[in-house]
Amino acid sequence: MKVTFPHLGNAYIAIEALLRGLGHEPIAPPPTTRHTLELGSLHSPGELCLPFKIVLGNMLEGLELGADSVLMIGGWGPCRLGYYGEIQRILLEALGKRVEFITLEVPRGSYATYFQRFRKLAAARSAKALLHGARLSWAKLTALEGLEELALKARPREQISGAASRYLQEQLARLREAETVHEVQQIVEEAEVGFRAIMGPERAHLLRVGLLGEIYTVVESFANLGVEERLGELGVEVVRTISLREWVENHIFRKALGLYSLRPLRRLASGYLSGFIGGHGLESVARSVALARQNLDGIVHILPLSCMPEIVARGILPRLSKDEQIPILSLVVDEHMGESGFQTRLEAFVDLLQRRVDALGKQRSACLSGN
């Protein structure tokens, strides 16, 4: 089968490897652009969130490239994402596209259905090839997130503006071509050296800002207008709290085995939020507390317009910000966002953080000299 799939940050590198291992031909949709979004919005109900529209646009572009099936993730609520695949299937069918949907989700019912789906997905290949594909895909996912993290560190310290982002793109392109786990490891090792070469001497105080919110808008740089790069270029080190690898571990493997527990998150969020509210709402609140306690300088919270779990979190964050003494900027993204307004808000936020740090530093030195 020729399988296309929606973009999610750079995850296409790992997904391609996985699909190849399963014996399919991966058809990665072209990189998400304005056109993708317009295409998706044209065929979506207006009230659905930005991720839905981009994902539908990706699917349509992938199908134009000749794909006959779509790989999508699903779920059982309460977040809307779990039902998106089904709605997209109905919409594509209404458009007259003949598509097979392969939905990755914890199936309702028995493990037998799980197995059946897997059988359908694994297109008659040897166990060895399957295993290799899975291992390679996992290695690539780990590697690409590692590279991105290195870039986050390098960007505020780079000597030539834009060097870190360019280097990251080069390495990701190499990673995409890699065919063995060994090669993948080599790329990561080399990149560590490469990123170090980009970085200048250590600055006295680098602002550190946590990035959290709804997973798609945090990971997909088109949806968040490249917030990581923008902050990096403003001289801020971005601390990611969301990792795709961790998401897959928790929500696909651990949950299927019944080993996933929300207790650590609930403990962190206690006093603000009592439990799961769908999507990444609990994570946003819990991780905000964690970041505040790690003495970060600020938090950027990203959510798509009308994302219900994140709106609940957003309602709670102002109190958290006051109690934990950490500035939080909530950014709502939708298809009508303008880049300059976005940039202005980020710059203003970074200015505020810098001034706050300076003021706190003065207070501290005043205390010391008073001794």
């Binding site: 009230e47 309460p78 089904e86 709605i87 709402g281 994302c307 609940v312 309602g315 709670i316």
Partner: protein, 304 residues
């Protein structure tokens, strides 16, 4: 003990008011329900609640702050996670007590039993009983719950009346109860439909025992109770109605998808579909115009 406890007249109050009022009264409280939504109450919600929240949620916050201003320092705000097996209500409701908490002074106490029927009806019962046990000995608490449950069941049975369709135009009204039953929030929509001479049937007329199996025709039945009820009710009523009117709060994610499901189900049938989104800027006048136009359309369709 006869202390007052406030119940905001919003959201799941419209589903469970007989149970909640009776139960709290039996437990020795004096339940004080906020008045039906009015401009003053809604305004309170609009000025406090997080801005991207939906209209009924803002109204809820308005009701809660209103009650607190009346001098009540106890509020009954259950966390309604689920009212049916393997289904959810809505992410807003999952975080409701925590959200409301952040808008109220610290002296106010919220009673928030967790109602989570995802694994069956046992949990809510257990949760109510455990709540009751804080105030009454076991036997009395059980009796209080049983009495409250009886009142609730009676009302639900009375609502399940699907034979009330007169001749003329018949419309299936889909939408969450906290919109269809709140005349202020929906701009007195039911009255207007009545004035236009249409017969209205709502999803509430069909019990879960009917809508749940009826929604199985979908490849993947929706996992929000109100959407599943809507789709199931549509499946049941489709041959008896001329049009479907969906009302939803602006920004309601589940309803955007419900629109797609309803649209794909009625495509090819004679029924027409009108979706109305309500928010604080909705004007009742524009609403009337749209309803009239919709009814005109249906009549024209009927006469061929």
């Amino acid at each position: 003990m006869n202390c007052k406890i406030g119940i905001p007249r919003a959201l799941y109050y419209f589903h469970f008011f007989p149970l909640w009022e009776t139960f709290l009264a039996e437990l020795g409280f004096e339940p004080v329900v906020s008045p039906p939504t009015n401009q003053d109450i809604l305004q309170r919600g609009l000025s406090t609640c997080v801005e991207s929240a939906c209209l009924p949620l803002k109204a809820f916050v308005g009701h809660a702050t209103f009650l607190v201003e009346q001098g009540l320092d106890l509020l009954f705000v259950p966390q309604v996670i689920s009212v049916f097996r393997k289904e959810y209500t809505c992410p807003y409701l999952l975080g409701l007590p925590d959200l409301v908490r952040s808008y109220l002074p610290a002296t106010v106490r919220l009673f928030s039993p967790v109602l989570d029927a995802r694994r069956g009806k046992g949990q809510p019962t257990f949760s109510y009983l455990r709540f009751g046990l804080q105030f009454k000995p076991p036997l009395q608490a059980f009796k209080a719950w049983r009495r409250a449950k009886a009142v609730q069941d009676e009302l639900e049975k009375a609502q399940q009346n699907t034979n009330s369709l007169p001749g003329g135009l018949n419309i299936l009204l889909l939408g969450p109860r906290y919109l269809t039953d709140d005349a202020y929030l929906n701009g007195n929509l039911l009255r207007k439909l009545e004035e236009l001479g249409t017969g209205v049937i709502t999803a509430a007329a069909y019990p879960d025992a009917i809508t749940w199996p009826a929604a199985r025709f979908l490849a993947k039945p929706p996992y929000w109770t109100s959407t599943r009820r809507a789709v199931g009710a549509l499946e049941q009523a489709i041959n008896r109605i001329d049009g479907v009117l969906s009302i939803a709060p602006f920004g309601c994610g589940a309803h955007a998808m419900q629109g797609v499901l309803v649209g794909s189900r009625i495509s090819g049938s004679k029924a027409a579909h009108l979706q109305i989104y309500l928010d604080e800027h909705t004007s009742p006048v524009g609403l009337v115009t749209r309803l009239e136009a919709f009814c005109d359309l249906l009549e024209r369709k009927m006469s061929g």
